[in-house]
Each structure stands twice: as C-alpha cells, then as structure tokens.
C-alpha cells in the first residue's frame, strides 16, 4: 500500500467536521506554523518538499511563492483555484466534499506564509453543495480560533471567503479566475504582468490549486524533506488521480508518484483493470488537454521500460510518444470506444469553453469541431486529417492563454496516433456510424511499431 497523506482518514466517520478532523491530528500544521515558524521558514519547507502545482502546469509551489512581490502597504492575496472543470478531473470536489478542513487548514498555513490577510477559495458555481460544506467548515474553524482576528494569539489576522464561479472552464486559468473574482467576464489577462506582481485588484497574488494547498499541511507537519522522500526524482510526494472511463473501479486514488501505469490500471489497489473483461485501447492520462496515447505507448516507453505515473515519465518522448501528468485526470478507453468520437467530443468542449477573446482560439476551435463532427458522421474527407493538424498548429502557441494549446493537443495527438482509425471513418462512412474500429494494433508490443 502506498502512503496516504491527504486521504489517510477519508473513511473516518465524521471527518468532515472540525471535531473529528482535529482528533485525527488536524490543525497541527496551523499551530506549528503560526506559533513556531516564521513566514520564510514555511516557504522554505515548501521549497524543500519539491511540491509541484497540482492544477495542471506542475510549477514548483515554493518557487511560485518566493516570486510574490511584497511592496510595503499593499495587500497580498492567496486565491485557491477550486474551479476544477478539466474533463476527467474530479479530485478537488472529492477532497472538499469529504475532508473540507484539509483545504481550510492548508489555506491558513499558506496565507500565513504569504502574508495574506484575506484569502478566497474560488469554487466553480456548479459545486454549490461543496460551497456550503466549505462555508460550514470555515465557520467551525473561525469559532475555534483558527481564523479571524489574532489567530491563536499570534497577532496574525485572516479572513477566508468562498467565491462561486458562474460556469466557465476558462475561469480555471488563473488570470481569468481573478477577472471572474472581480465580477467580470472570465477573459484571461494578457501577461505580463503576472499575478505575483499584479493579480487580484492589482495586488500581488498567488493562485494555487486545491490539492497543492492541501499538500502544504503534511509538508509542515512532517517537514519538506520527509515529503520529498516520497515519489521519484523531481516528482515528489503523493498525487490524487481521478480515474474514470472503462475501468472496474473508477474513483479518486492517492498514489505515491512513481507507481507504474500498468499497476495503476490493473492492480486491485487502484483501478482494478478494464471493465467487462475488455482490453485497453487508449488513455488520456492528465485531463482532456493532454495528448491521448494508445495502449502500447501509455504502458511502456519506447525503450521498453515501464511508464510510470510521474511528471517526467509521462512526458518522456515529448509530443511524439509521450503525454503529461497534467491535473491527474486519468481517462481510460476500452476497445469498444471510438477515438474519432471522443476527439470530436473534447473538441466540442473547447469550442464551447473558448472565451472568444483571441482570434485563433475563437475561430479555430469551432473549425476543428466542425471538421471532426463531419468525420464522425460519415462525411469526412481524406484531406481532413491534414487540415485538422494544420489548424491545430495555427492555434497552438499563438493565443493569449493555454486554452488554445489545450484545444490543439488532443486533436493533433489523436491524429498522430490513430490516423488509420480516422482514415477508416472516411473510407467506410456508413459502417463507421454503426460500428467501431476496435482495438486494431493499438496494444501491439512496441518494438514492432518502432521498426
């Protein structure tokens, strides 16, 4: 069994209450940090832990914190990104529903480290039940003296508020989130300036994912070095993986970074294998934005080694044969699934969610969706695949925010790895509407593919 830092007590009855949470050792990190550590020491521990942002980009959290500008007399903000809308990702909702105090405790410690006296948790509006849960947890923490004025007699003040979103994936992008929190349309800002210099209300701001903030709690309790011992290489600690699709046991799993993809999919500890005795066809390993890989490439590296669940191993091979850990949204497709349909579906998502500010993304996402739609419905042309790749290239890297890239990668990677399935759709338009291409050679051992 791998070590659990975030979900250790998930099955303790009443763990959503402050009382039970404290009995399991909760709020020790707040006491330790505020009573015995300077703010810089807290930042230092987080740096030592090697914690990387769990929201998708994987940027080292300690380093991000140390970039925060600290001009005299200007407020600083910590904003927690609980917008969780990346298809395939549902770990933050799970954590907030079951152990809300893990987030609240992390927010208090992190706000203290950054010198923020007002912090916000921006929760996607659809998570109204979680908003209520968090509001209740905040009230409990406040009543117990962990929030409000003069926390634990230290002289440190902190107010914590929950802000609902309005239904927009783009508000997960940190500057769009800040716009939204200011009561505006969720249009990402043009950077620079970065939030660390001018974020919420023009003040220095750190935006971190729910899981990143919750991970600060065990880091402070056990020390950054202890945390860094877990995991592999620069992928330290544990990570919540949201597993969905055609597996026997979908759900949220906390893994030590570095378990093999094969173990993750097939072991009883995690996904428990492919559902209904089917065979594995493909995996989207880090949320819908990352490249999709066929079974053979997700299980093994090109050199034959096993691929591991870590930032480095998943991206091994770059965009040619690799993918990314992203937000940890692990979507498994069995042999009965149609890659063209799935790609069209994701493409529709990005088209629907583009904020529309910049022309390549606004126009290009719709264009890709339409071409994919006609391919899926038996009206495609052989030239469509090249057209899609070309349109995706014209979006990628040329937009204001990474949503453009996120829309381009799934399409480009699906065509890169599953081109023959797309071509089969064009050649067999009537059949393709009724039947699927099946597993084909996508699980064949790699060396044959390579030679």
């Amino acid at each position: 069994m791998g070590r659990k830092l975030l979900l250790e007590h998930i099955n303790v009855p009443g763990i959503n209450t402050l009382e039970v949470y404290r009995k399991t050792g909760g709020y020790r990190a707040v006491e330790k940090a505020i009573k015995t550590m300077s703010t810089d020491e807290v930042v230092e521990e987080v740096k030592k832990s090697g914690l990387r942002g769990r929201g998708g980009a994987g940027f080292p959290t300690g380093m991000k914190w140390s970039f925060l500008a600290k001009p005299e007399g200007v407020a600083r903000y910590l904003v927690c990104n609980a917008d969780e809308s990346e298809p395939g990702t549902f770990k933050d909702r799970y954590l907030m529903t079951n152990i809300p105090h893990a987030l609240i405790e992390g927010m208090i410690v992190s706000s203290y480290a950054l010198g923020a006296n007002t912090s916000y948790i921006y929760v996607r509006g659809e998570m109204m039940p979680q908003i209520r849960i968090l509001e209740k947890a905040i009230a409990e923490a406040k009543a117990a003296g962990f929030l409000g004025k003069n926390i634990l007699g230290s002289g440190y003040d902190l107010e914590l508020y929950v802000q609902p979103g309005g239904g927009a994936y783009i508000c997960g992008e940190e500057t769009a989130l800040l716009e939204s929190l200011e009561g505006k349309r969720g249009n990402p800002r043009i950077k620079p300036p970065f939030p660390a210099i001018a974020g919420l209300y023009g003040c220095p701001t750190v935006v971190n994912n729910v899981e990143s903030i919750a991970a600060v709690v065990p880091i402070i309790n056990d020390g950054g070095e202890e945390y860094a011992k877990i995991g592999i290489g620069r992928s330290t600690g544990t990570k919540l993986i949201s597993a969905s699709g055609n597996i026997n046991k979908p759900g949220v799993y906390e893994i030590e970074l570095g378990v093999s993809v094969e173990d993750f999919i097939y072991s009883e500890e995690y996904c428990g294998g492919i559902a209904n005795g089917k065979r594995l066809k493909a995996v989207v390993a880090g949320g819908s934005s990352v490249p999709i890989l066929p079974a053979n490439l997700i299980l093994n590296l090109v050199n034959g080694d096993k691929r591991l669940m870590s930032y480095e191993s998943l991206s091994e091979g770059g965009f040619t044969t690799g993918t990314m850990l992203g937000s940890g949204g692990f979507v498994v497709l069995d042999e009965d699934q149609c890659i063209v349909r799935n790609t069209w579906n994701f493409s529709r998502f990005y088209h629907h969610e583009s904020c529309g500010q910049c022309s390549p993304c606004r126009e290009g996402t719709g264009w890709m969706e339409k071409v994919l739609h006609r391919l899926e419905n038996g009206h495609g042309k052989m030239s469509d695949m090249d057209l899609l790749v070309d349109v995706s290239k014209k979006i990628e890297g040329n937009t204001i925010c990474p949503l453009g890239d996120a829309a381009a990668w799934p399409v480009a990677s699906a065509i890169r790895h599953f081109r023959d399935e797309f071509e089969w759709h064009v050649r067999n338009p009537t059949l393709a509407v009724k039947e699927n291409f099946g597993l084909a050679h996508y699980a064949d051992p790699l060396p044959e593919l390579v030679s």
Partner: protein, 342 residues
Amino acid sequence: MNILNFLKLSEKVKVTIDGMPVEVEPGTSILNAARQIGGDIVPPAMCYYSKLEGSGGKCRTCLVKVSKGSEKDPRPMPKLVASCRTNVMDGMEVQNITSPEVVEARRGIVEMLLINHPLDCPVCDQAGECHLQDLAYEHGAEATRYEFDRRTFDRIDIGDKIQLHMTRCILCYRCVFVADQITENRVHGILGRGDHAEISTYIEKAIDNDFSGNVIDVCPVGALTDKTFRFKNRVWFTKPVEAHRDCPTCSGKTTLWYKGEEVLRVTARKDEFGEVEEFICNTCRFDKKETKDWVIEGPKKVSRQSVINSNHYDQLQPAQVVKKNLELMEANKEQFERATKF
C-alpha cells in the same frame, strides 16, 4: 546640462527590429518601437489602439518573434509574442517579416479572421479602407478552406446614426474601450462567449452621447457604420479632404469625404497607422454635411498600406528601409515586386 542629457540618453533602450536599430523610451511596446522605425517592418495591428487604454493582445495579427530577449538575458522568448503588448528590453532583437515563422503564423491568423467573415466587400461601406481587406490582400489568403456556413447575425441599429453589422465584427473590443473611456454611460458591450460573442446593447438602447460616433472610426472593419453616410459609395470613388470648424465640443479637425460637390460623410483624421488623431464629436460627424460648415485645408494624404491607395491613389512606394537592407528586401519580396510593378 550635459549630465542631464547624458542621463536622459542613457535611459533609452536599444532594440533591433528586422535588423534595424532604434532607441526608445523604456516601457515602449515592440509595436510602437517598430512604428518609430516605420515602413514595412511595422506589424499589422487589428485590435491595439494607442489612444485606448487596455486595448491590444486579442487579434494576434501583430505577433513577432523575439530572437534575443535582452542584453542581460539573451535567451529568445519561447513563443511568438503580441508586439502590441510586449515591452522592449535593452538589447532586444525582434524579427517580424524576416521570420518565416512569423509570416506563417500571421497567415494563419488572417485565415482565422476570415473564415467567418462575410464575403461582402463589394457592398461594404468600409471597402477600400478596411484593415482586414488590406491584411487579406497582403497575406495572399487563397481560396478559403472553410467549408461550413458562416456565422451570421441580424443588423441592428444602435440609435439612429450608427448601424452594427455584427456579422463583420472581429471582436477587437476597440468600440467597447471607446464607449468606456471616451463616452459616459456605456450601453453596449460584449455579450455571450467564444464564437457566439457579439457586440450588443442587449435590450435595444441607443448609444446617445456626444462622442459615441467615434466607435465608427475605431472599428477596423465595416461592422460599425455611419447611417448618415449618404449615397452608399465605394470609398475610393470619394475624395478625402482635410477640414476644420470651430467646434465647442471637440477639436473640429476632420476629414470630409466628397463626391463631386457633396460631402458624403465626415470622419476623424487618421494617421498612417489608421488611428484617429483626435476623437471628434457627433455634431461634427453627423450634422455638418455642407461645405459651408467647414474651412477646407486641402486633400488628405492616403495611407501607404491601404487598398484604396494601391488601387487608386499615388503609387505604392517601397519604404526607404527596404532598399538598404538585403535581408529585408528578400523577406519582403512580394511587397517589393508589387511596388516596382507600378
């Protein structure tokens, strides 16, 4: 005196764009530095507007490549950047038309801007002075590869003087910035999201304000037009003349667009980058359509880049810089050939 001068000089930063050096104030954007050099190396700007705070960054036509970040940190920037929203650093080296990557990306952006744009140039008021038309022309957008229905919207009147043809809009947000910054009480804005976003008033409300007419001048395409423009006409058959009047509300400096003896419409004066020099009031724009209302100064010089110019006005002059710089001449061959053909 000397020391002051020295200090002042040393504050300037040096940047090289397509091999051409220029010294500018710190905090200048790459685009504005390029405008100081002038000529063909100026990136096209469809959304940035120097007189409107916060504008730019959206259309992406002004993308350039930063091949050297600065003297201190010479690393190139990993992606193409919007030149209108990226500031120069001392020692920065920028490639615009000398970078095949930039030219290719820009071609892509222009294609994206055109896929949903109607092909109604022949009946559009803006034809001849439309920045999108210029861009399409310069970037040789071939036959469209887009085989789907184009997005369409109904025309709406925003008050009795301004008409909005949303179908033509490229969502540059300039008109919204004008409404926000030049007029009081903004009543129109951007509704919806993504490619359904539209400029609108939501519930029919007139833009009723002394300076509202300026949204027409800042619109880079023919989406916002002047309903008082008499006898719809190709712009290039009209004759622009600079004029002024003593106006209590604005500077009164305008361009009158004549056909024969008649003033067809009045606009603000635009500089060589297509930006108005000074915003004008609605009285000058909509209500003064008689020659006797104005003091005539003389014919307006037409911008070098525009389609009116290359089709119907004085010859296209290759910019000075092109002749001196072999690399630029190569990069700008097409433009150069077009120019020498005339």
